[in-house]
């Protein structure tokens, strides 16, 4: 494992065009560097950080390079696949899906979330029937520890979404995790989880899912730092939903924002589908609202 980290470091050294002797100067001798590179002999963490620092390579560069750019196509595809699968953005998802299918288990931990998203994607694109999807999710969940963590929770949530008669106890279990988990550890996975939770509540208003305001507040906090238009739009939508529940008329303006934003990211066909759900849930004609609002600037 340690030698893998040094291999990433050595890739970056070469990209930066730094000779091994310059790279090691003042931190370690070259022989030690090669030893770290070839096998797991013990290096101090500080020494590793010193090498990065002395070469003026920010840790974030090391990290992003290791996660996305190293010649490990499956690793590079993890986050890209999840990002697309979560949003239902399938137009360019196939290369990432194929990479992951052809290289299973490269990163066991993230794979627990990825495998859940793969099944959801396959179900969504009709590659799996409803029965097959549920069966495969159950099989995946059987391999996971009982206690949720931010990656294993997705399989559980997708399975929960498929239940015909969900209990409040089950919904509460997700909220308990959301409440306890520190989103700073993994903001993007947390954001996806909040989005799933609130979206579920929106699509099932008869269930009176609890703690929506608390989850919305968390979502809004993270969206402020990751203002992707998909999440920004969902923020407006959930805010509108909460305003509607609380009989606050601001929900109309928020729906307009959701629609105008959605025009930027969805094709008309997908947008029409999304809006139909909202029109039904909130008993409103969103497009008419938009036209009226634009004329009043």
């Amino acid at each position: 494992m340690q030698s893998n980290l040094y291999k990433v470091l050595d890739d970056l050294r070469q990209i930066y065009g730094i000779s091994v002797s310059d790279f090691c100067k003042g931190v370690i001798d070259e022989r030690t560097y090669y030893r770290y590179l070839s096998k797991d002999s013990t290096s101090s963490l500080s020494r590793f950080l010193d090498l990065l620092h002395t070469a003026n390579i920010p840790l974030v560069v090391f990290l992003i390079y290791a996660l996305h750019f190293r010649n490990d196509t499956a690793s590079a595809s993890f986050l890209r696949f999840i990002y697309r699968a979560h949003r239902g953005k399938y137009d360019d998802i196939l290369p990432h899906y194929n990479n992951l299918k052809n290289n299973p288990g490269v990163n066991q931990h993230i794979a627990q979330a990825v495998n859940a998203y793969i099944l959801r994607y396959e179900y969504d694109t009709n590659a799996l029937s409803k029965e097959e999807y549920i069966k495969k999710l159950d099989a995946l969940i059987a391999t996971l520890p009982e206690e949720f963590d931010i990656l294993t929770i997705f399989a559980h949530f997708f399975r929960f979404e498929m239940k015909e008669n969900p209990t409040n106890q089950e919904i509460k279990r997700f909220y308990t995790f959301i409440d306890k988990h520190d989103f700073k550890l993994s903001p993007l996975f947390s954001l996806n989880l909040y989005d799933l939770y609130l979206d579920y509540a929106l699509r099932n208003p008869h269930l009176n899912v609890e703690n929506l305001q608390e989850v919305y507040d968390k979502l809004a906090t993270v969206v402020a730092y990751f203002p992707n238009r998909y999440y920004l739009g969902k923020k407006y939508l959930f805010q509108a939903f909460l305003a509607y529940i609380n009989k606050n008329l601001d929900y109309k303006e928020l729906l307009i924002k959701y629609y105008v934003n959605a025009v930027l990211i969805y094709s008309p066909k997908v947008l029409e589908r999304n809006i139909a759900t909202i029109n039904t849930a909130l008993n409103i004609d969103v497009l008419a609202l938009v036209k009226e609002a634009m004329l009043s600037k």
Binding site: I15, S43, L45, I64, V260
Partner: protein
Amino acid sequence: MLNEFDFIRVLEKLRTEKNMSIVELTAGIMSRRTYSRLLSNETRINMLDLVRLVDRLGFPFIEFVQYAHNVVFMENIHEYEFLTLIYNENYKDAYDNYYKKIKSKINKLRTPFAKSTTIILFILEEKMNIISKDILLERLRELVDLDFIFGQPILLDDYIEILYFYTPFATQEEKERIVIYLYETLVKNTRLILGHSVEMTTLKGFSILQRAIRKTPENRVIAIETIQAAMQYILRSSLAPEDVNVLLAMNELNDYYQISPYILFYLMAALRTTPGERFKQLRKEIYTEANVKTYLQQLEAFQKIDTTLCEEIIKNAIKSLQSA
């Protein structure tokens, strides 16, 4: 820059989240006492022991490093908020809420924007009349090393921030060098782009590039290729408010080169939905009666296209390139 103790703090955070006892975590790796001393920052850890501890918690090491990076970034988010306020020209809020705090830790900044934050501190001081414009220019010339940035094999977010804030003060010759550098990097993909958010870095790069392109008939191809590449990037990333800044610059190029009618439509929609005082202000300028009329016409037309808006604009750009 993360330090060793940051990793220990995150290790402990993950241990408690996983409900694992210290004994379970450390058995066979180190004594409980050593672990306690690590937590109180009294001793150092070797990398192999750290890798073993992380492994026992069930996390791949790279993911753990990412967690540590996320935690430190989020704990120091005020540094990034400061930068964002200046980026959105919200100088008063930046001054009232962050100036003293950032100034006091200027040599100890923890997010990856250390160099650009130093520069924008001076820009803020000039805006708030603490220093004169001449002093600001002097500081910028001392701090901004374009040769260094252009010579790097990787374009970092910190460099983009520097270019973003420096370009309005650059000489014409420097601006032309910036155009060549960004055109090669972003349109011709000659360099790796890395950063806290590659998307944000790239979009900021596109807005700098589009603003720096001189509007002349000779630059038509560069301008269209840039619009096409920028739109392709917006399609992939959909990131606000960076996309608005790209679109504002794109709209100016489009006014001159007439590439796609949907650019104004896209800009107006993006402005309407992007939070922030600056965008509210810009809305007032862009939402003229004529533009609103165009918007509503485009909204009707949009419902008849079979792709996304971005893809439609890309198609328009390709057509323009073919006829250029």
